[in-house]
């Protein structure tokens, strides 16, 4: 594992986490129980 490998793994993890967070927030909006306007970070 070089420094580049670690940097790459960390950035991938961060980016994918953010993607999953946004997807979950999108799911949270759906339906009558959705969070309504302003349901974002």
């Amino acid at each position: 594992m070089t420094g580049m490998d670690v940097l790459f793994a960390l950035s991938m993890a961060a980016v994918l986490t953010l993607a999953i967070r946004d997807l979950l927030r999108g799911l949270g909006e759906l339906g009558p129980g959705g969070r309504g306007p302003g349901g974002q970070a």
């Binding site: 953010l18 999108g26 909006e29």
Partner: protein, 875 residues
């Protein structure tokens, strides 16, 4: 899981997310379900992150030389420097597609974030368009051109093919991102226009919010065009910067309509005018970005500027048809909803000028499209037959003789220049006049008075500039011909050809544009200073911040005027000479003398190329060596030698006898011309035999002929010594030259010269013909050395040219040279390129100001700003 498999999985997930977001957004917009639209917004933002992950993965595959992946093997190799590895990301079709998807997904995510919490149908439609566009490019990727595609059975090659040498240039490496970003970013204003149209929201808010996006896209497109021009000028060696190549034309098309859109957006903002034009131009511009990509696919494929088949063609054709049909249909349906708030008042209003500008720009679009497509279409026998029938019928009616077209129609740069020239001049005239014209809100007496004053100053400046230019030329003619100044000026004026007339008109209108802009700035800043008692600098800042549209616009116009001056200068009077020169031959151009000193090799193992360099000494006509240069030369010469001024840049050195002169110039030339490329392997003083081998053996791998050239350099010295003085032969197997010298003194001089390094006391040496005791020498300090070269690459058949340019404010000296392989001569293209610095300066002004304008500005400073500030009507 391997990188390739992970990449393919990520691309599939990305496609799933963008497709889902499209469906949610469209249903949300149709059913007015805010939750669905908001969910689509989050999906779009998630897609942005996922696209970054995909790009990171591809970048990693490139950086770690993962040659199992086809794209990596095709466009990189292990010897490529990191910078070019990074740029290989967009160096080929698949990578460019990945860049496209990443950038579009990211821009869409940024836009979705700017509309966060908004679940309106307008936002829904826009999100739908953005996600659908991203999905379209992802479909292309998955089904036609996958960047993560691997080699089927084997593990891939041990090393890759490397990057096209033409792309191994800093300018070309950075050219695609702004160009592609310009194309991609126009999807955002298009999506916003689509949203407003579909939702029937005619308050113009879409256009206001789209402004930074339009400016960003326009700025990027401009930067892409400028970098492309600069690259063409510096690298391609054909002597120009714009060749009306299909790829250049394709990039120009959306720029033209994008320019029109910036102005219609202002018109809509000022008074709700030209609304439908604004929408239509957003649609046309986006359509043209797709069309441009389809037309050349060069941004998406490796083969530079060529029309080769690509699997993407049918996809693009369909996207063009669908986009035109859907957007056109929508515009037609909402035609009445988006009627302008007011009719345009008279033909002297600002809006009328914008309308005229749209007309001119669309005419240019038509001309460029026609000229680009006609040669392609006329390759088809059916089209050619049809055209012959139509032309034949026209000829029959008019009674003219008709010669049928036999082959595909060729449309060259001359045609484009001839047709675009007048349109460009008209556009520049509008640029000068347009800002003077009042819009509806400011038809007050004060505004009119100021406008008239500004107009008068502008016209005066334009006429003054015209008189000055004609006067300068007339004066030059008067001196040569002995006629009176006025008469010579008249003769010059009446003998002008079209490029000259365009040049003068461009200069006049450019001067007027600058004068109008300056006058408006000065008047407004002065008014502010009077009312607020501020310093010039502060007042200028306040005035700019209070009305960036107007004053930023002025600055962009000034930049455009400067580039026009550059174009006009280039169109008007490029002096070009194409010659073949032998060593020490000279050619004169624009008051300069360009003397060919010889060729030299260089070897650059880090970047895999060897270069054949042609060395030229450029002096001004009449330039002579200084007395210090003479003294320096005297100091290194033996005693009893006289130095006196010679012909031009030469000093004439007189030796006491022929043999001393000969020994001296042989040594000097061996040091200057042979030692840099040949090293002395062995010498046999008893038989006067030398064995010489190339100093850099690597060069022979890329330019085998350079061995011949080295032999020719030895023989050239032999020729100047006289018949039979030197005999030269090469080894059968080894690249070694064997030199047999008749005269021991000459032999010694050769050995001394080859053993020493080049002497700094002279630049060039030649024996005087017919006077063997004298030698002509150019000492250092006279003129400038210019060294254009041709580069040969280990991994590519195609050499590239590196031109040499001496920039100047009024004109550049441009040299492109191809050393004739194996012999001592060179093919030189020398050009006197006027106004190039002005052109680049203008482009820089445009880019910097656009960047400032696209950046969100702080809120306007309160307080009285200017007399004419009332012009701005917030809606």
């Amino acid at each position: 899981m391997g990188v390739a498999a992970l990449g393919q999985l990520l691309v599939m997930i990305l496609l799933g997310v963008t497709s889902l977001a499209t469906v949610l957004a469209v249903i949300g917009a149709l059913r007015k379900r805010e939750d669905l639209v908001r969910a689509a917004g989050w999906g779009t933002r998630a897609a942005g992150w996922l696209s970054v992950a995909t790009a990171l993965l591809l970048l990693r595959a490139i950086l770690t030389h993962d040659f199992r992946i086809q794209y990596v093997a095709q466009y990189t190799d292990t010897s490529l420097p990191v910078f070019y590895l990074l740029t290989a990301f967009w160096g080929g079709e698949k990578g460019a597609l990945a860049f496209w998807v990443t950038a579009l997904a990211l821009l869409s995510a940024v836009w979705a974030r700017s509309r966060r919490g908004d679940g309106s149908p307008e936002t829904g439609w826009a999100l739908g368009v953005l996600s659908a566009t991203t999905s379209f490019f992802l479909v292309l990727m998955v089904f036609a051109s996958h960047p993560f595609e691997t080699f089927s059975a084997s593990g891939g090659p041990a090393d890759g093919n490397g990057l096209n040498p033409l792309l191994q240039n800093p300018l070309m490496a950075v050219h695609p991102p702004p160009q592609l970003l310009g194309f991609i970013a126009y999807a955002v204003p298009f999506a916003m226009a689509f949203g407003a149209l579909a939702a029937g929201r005619a308050d113009g808010s879409w256009s206001r919010r789209a402004r930074p996006w339009s400016l960003f896209a326009w700025g990027m497109l401009t930067a892409g065009l400028v970098v492309g021009e600069l690259w063409s000028y510096l690298e391609l060696g054909w002597g120009g910067y714009w060749g009306w190549d299909p790829v250049e034309n394709a990039a120009l098309l959306p720029w033209l309509t994008g320019t029109a859109m910036l102005h219609t957006a202002s018109a809509e903002y000022r008074g709700g005018h030209l609304r439908r034009w604004n929408l239509a131009l957003a649609g046309i511009t986006f359509w043209l970005t797709l069309f441009a990509t389809f037309l050349t696919r060069s941004q998406l494929i490796q083969s530079l500027h060529s029309f080769t088949g690509s699997a993407l063609t049918p996809f693009f054709l369909w996207s063009l048809v669908v986009t035109a049909a859907v957007f056109g249909g929508l515009l037609a349906r909402r035609w009445k909803t988006f009627a302008p708030r007011d009719a345009i008042v008279g033909w002297t209003s600002r809006e009328a000028a914008v309308l005229a500008q749209i007309g001119l720009l669309l005419m240019m679009v038509f001309v460029v499209m026609w000229g680009t497509l006609l040669p392609k279409f006329s390759e088809s026998p059916a089209v050619l037959g049809g055209m012959n029938r139509v032309l034949g019928a026209v000829a029959a009616i008019t009674g003219r003789e008709f010669v049928p077209l036999s082959g595909a129609i060729q449309v060259g740069p001359e045609w484009f220049n001839r047709v675009i020239g007048p349109l460009g001049i008209a556009l520049l005239a509008l640029t000068a006049v347009g800002p003077l014209l009042p819009n509806r809100a400011s038809v007050g007496a004060e505004g009119r008075r100021l406008a008239w004053r500004t107009a008068l100053i502008g016209v005066a400046v334009a006429l003054g500039l015209l008189a000055l230019l004609v006067g300068i030329r007339g004066r030059a003619l008067a001196i040569v011909s002995g006629l009176s100044w006025a008469r010579a000026s008249w003769i010059y004026l009446s003998g002008l050809s079209w490029p000259g007339i365009y040049g003068l008109a461009a200069a006049a209108f450019a001067g007027m544009t600058v004068a109008v802009a300056a006058q408006d700035w000065v008047a407004t800043v002065r008014a502010r200073r009077r009312s607020a008692g501020e310093s010039w600098r502060r007042a200028a800042g306040v005035v700019f911040r209070a009305n960036p549209r107007r004053f930023g616009g002025h600055l962009v116009h000034v930049g455009v005027a400067l580039t026009f001056l550059g174009y006009a200068g280039a169109a008007g009077k490029i002096v070009r000479k194409d010659v073949v020169l032998d060593r020490m031959d000279a050619v004169t151009l624009g008051g300069r003398e360009i003397r060919f000193l010889g060729t030299a090799e260089s070897w650059n193992p880090a970047e895999n190329f060897g270069a054949l360099q042609a060395r030229f000494l450029v002096t001004h006509l009449g330039e002579r060596p200084s007395s210090e240069a003479q003294d320096r030369l005297r100091a290194v010469l033996p005693a009893g030698v006289a130095v006196e001024p010679g012909d031009g840049a030469f000093l004439r050195v007189s030796f006491p006898d022929e043999s001393r002169a000969r020994a001296w110039w042989v040594r000097a030339r061996a040091a200057a011309e042979l030692a840099p490329s040949l090293s002395l392997m062995a010498s046999d003083p008893s038989r006067c035999v030398l064995r010489l081998a190339p100093r850099i053996p690597g060069i022979l791998r890329v330019v085998p002929e350079s061995f011949q050239r080295m032999g020719e350099a030895i023989q050239a010295i032999g020729r100047d010594l006289g018949e039979g003085a030197i005999s030269v032969s090469s080894g059968r197997r080894d690249p070694v030259w064997t030199v047999t010298v008749r005269d021991p003194e000459v032999f010694e001089a050769l050995v001394e010269g080859l053993s020493g390094t080049g002497d700094p006391a002279w630049v060039a040496v030649r024996p005087v013909e017919g006077d063997a005791a004298r030698v002509d020498v150019i000492p250092p300090g006279v003129g400038r050395l210019m060294t254009p070269e041709v580069r040969f690459y280990l991994r590519s058949e195609n050499p590239t040219t590196e031109v040499a340019i001496e920039p100047g404010f009024w004109s550049d000296l441009y040299l492109a040279a191809t050393p004739a392989r194996g012999v001592g001569s060179v093919n030189l293209t020398a050009m006197d390129h006027p106004m190039m610095t002005v052109l680049w300066l203008g482009a820089l002004v445009v880019l910097v100001v656009t960047a400032v304008l696209a950046w969100p500005l702080p809120a306007p400073v309160p307080g009285p700003v200017a007399v004419r500030q009332a012009e701005e009507v917030p809606s």
